[in-house]
Symmetry: C2
Subunit: 392 residues, 2 copies
């Protein structure tokens, strides 16, 4: 009887989601004890619909491209899963001789992973279900960080650096760049790493702090006394002290309320209240799909997490997720380990106080030290002339 492996993606892609898929496929092939490797087409729903993508016959060269392909090569979803779905999955897994299931995703997906593990265990089936962490937002508990974050952080830091070099060239104006992470400010905060090359953003607003429009306007006004071009990086999830989004709802449909962009809202505030030129930028999904700014450390760790989850499942582990423990910041050292899914399911990890400055408009050195190794390589060098060096 066959021993097959199934990989399932959940939630939004990252720049290294396919790198973990690569690691898992490689480990399965190397093990010599996996007959067929499948991907669930478009997440858990693909399993329920028995849409299994066979990954057996791709060449090593083709598979290697997974490490530089953004998105999910097997598709993903945000399907809500109920207990009857888990019950339905077990006979499908048995029918296709799937003994190993790897879930790659964030908090919601780890919840699914844990529940399928429990359903399999309760029904006495020998199916091992393992979790691979994935999130750009870095909000998964227990692990020091998750694959996907380092690349999103590198994109944000590099983009802030480039934006600052551009903005500094021109007369007085303010540019607000919006960063992903509705409840957790990790990606927004990573923009501060651009400062280490001399082109850092001037103000950083995180969703971990209530946003005060008056304080923001005062911050900008004060800075404009010292310099001409100001770059602000703001989380998409900014809210006021009462927890209300700072952006106004644009319109409602039956299902949801739609809000404007934080970036243009803050830019408009500057124009309206200070009379300065301002504009908002929102790279949005580009920040999680950028291969140009993929962090090599993140990519390698993503591959490792995929390999490790696969190897663990093959040796009989189940109901666990691969996690990272920080051993040292400089030189950067990390030890991977397995954690019970119960410890990570549905907990959301936000930035600790010691990573946020006292005024709530920037980050601390402790954050920079923690984040620096994750972007993988220093940002590029740039030249900055002494603009007032005078004539000879």
């Amino acid at each position: 009887m066959d021993n097959n492996l199934l990989i399932i993606h959940g939630g939004g892609p990252t720049a290294v989601l396919n790198a973990s898929l690569y690691g898992a496929v490689l480990a399965a092939k190397k093990s010599g004890c996996v007959d067929h490797i499948y991907g669930a087409n478009n997440g858990t729903g693909g399993l329920l619909r028995e849409e299994l993508i066979c990954l057996d016959d791709y060449s090593p060269e083709q598979l290697k491209l997974l490490t530089v392909t953004p998105g999910s090569a097997i598709g993903t979803s945000r399907d809500a899963i109920w207990q009857e779905d888990y019950d339905a999955m077990v006979p499908i897994l048995e029918k296709h001789h799937i003994r190993y299931v790897l879930f790659n995703g964030g908090n919601g997906t780890m919840d699914t992973c844990g529940k399928l593990h429990k359903t399999c265990a309760a029904s006495g089936k020998e199916i091992c279900v393992m979790g691979i962490p994935k999130t750009t937002d870095n909000d998964i508990a227990v692990t020091d960080h998750s694959p996907g974050f380092g690349s999103a952080a590198r994109f944000m830091a590099a983009s802030a650096q480039e934006l600052c070099a551009d903005v500094r060239s021109l007369p007085i104006h303010v540019v607000v760049m919006e960063a992903s992470g509705r409840n957790a400010g990790w990606i927004t905060a990573a923009a501060a790493l651009a400062g280490e090359k001399g082109y850092g953003p001037d103000l950083i607003y995180l969703p971990e702090r209530a946003f005060d429009e008056d304080a923001f306007i005062r911050d900008v006004e004060e800075l404009l006394k010292q310099k001409s071009g100001i770059v602000v990086v703001a989380s998409e999830g900014l809210h006021d002290a009462q927890g209300n989004p700072v952006v106004k709802p644009i319109f409602k449909t039956e299902r949801a309320t739609y809000f404007g962009d934080v970036s243009s809202h803050l830019a408009n505030l500057v124009i309206d209240r200070l009379g300065y030129k301002a504009r908002g930028e929102k790279p949005g999904l580009l920040g999680r799909a950028s291969i140009a700014w993929q962090s090599p450390v993140d990519r390698d760790e993503a591959i490792l997490a995929g390999e490790m989850a696969c190897e663990a499942a093959i040796r009989g582990e189940s109901g666990k997720m691969v996690a990272f423990r920080r051993v040292s910041d400089e030189p950067y050292q990390m030890t991977p380990f397995l954690v019970d899914i119960d410890e990570v399911m549905m907990y959301e990890r936000t930035m600790p106080d010691e990573f946020i400055n006292a005024r709530g408009n920037g980050v601390t050195d402790a954050f920079l030290k923690w984040c620096r190794p994750l972007i993988g390589e220093p940002l590029p060098d740039m030249i900055s002339f002494n603009r007032m060096s005078g004539r000879k």
Copy 2:
């Protein structure tokens, strides 16, 4: 008496504006007949304020960094210049023994360049004034294309590719990416090059065509019958048949009216009228500041244009701009030449009809053939699994 060179930047930066500066500085040093090299701090205003940045003492290694530094290393501006300003510039140039002036900029800057040349000539001063073309929007007349465009095009094509790989991973939704170029659709159109790697945008809307919201909604609806994730690329300058911007004004100040973003406007239209999930992205200034997606052809041509303008000024040419003539698409061959500034001043070049498809929602093969060599290198390879390859 000294023979000095002054370089002046005008308008918004590009990813290769500093590369042209590099070319000019290199040519000046190589000529052996330039005593001091100055940059005007923040554009023409810097000349009027006599803020001259001395570039003599930077090492070759430092100067080389200009080729990978976005923005303007000497600063730029959008100052309006009057005849009295030109008259004021001549004695300042004489005072600082400046015999060669290089203007690097777009249509407006070439106008300034031509007028300073005429003012110098009329006053009988032996000051040579030359133009280096620069624009991401590619709207300068006569030249086949301008330095700055190739990199903006490469950014847009690569971003469209990455975005499409991401969007294709998920269940039904629509993403609209906004591209720069208010009146000229060149950058927007360049997104189509992503299609050559199998990840092209589905719809492209250019400012050269009146935008019809009903036709847009029909286009999206039709496509959603065939595929789940749709990527739309739209110019920031879309307007209706009457010439009115498709986005509504958000608010007015004394000086100007502020409009919302085209990207979020179109995304909201999809949500509202079709009920599908949609979002807008606006990389904005990142598209002209990206070194990661800098086109090597564009960079080399920018250096060449800087060198050539400098050499021409030194041998006594004045009132001319460096321009490019396309010799061949495949293999790509281009010949630089000098054109009288009068022929390019203040003309805006938009996309010709033969580059736009009949339905006005995409580009033609002729455009792809023209644009392809300018992005410098093919886009990265990615892997695309056969998502319905079935189980074994």
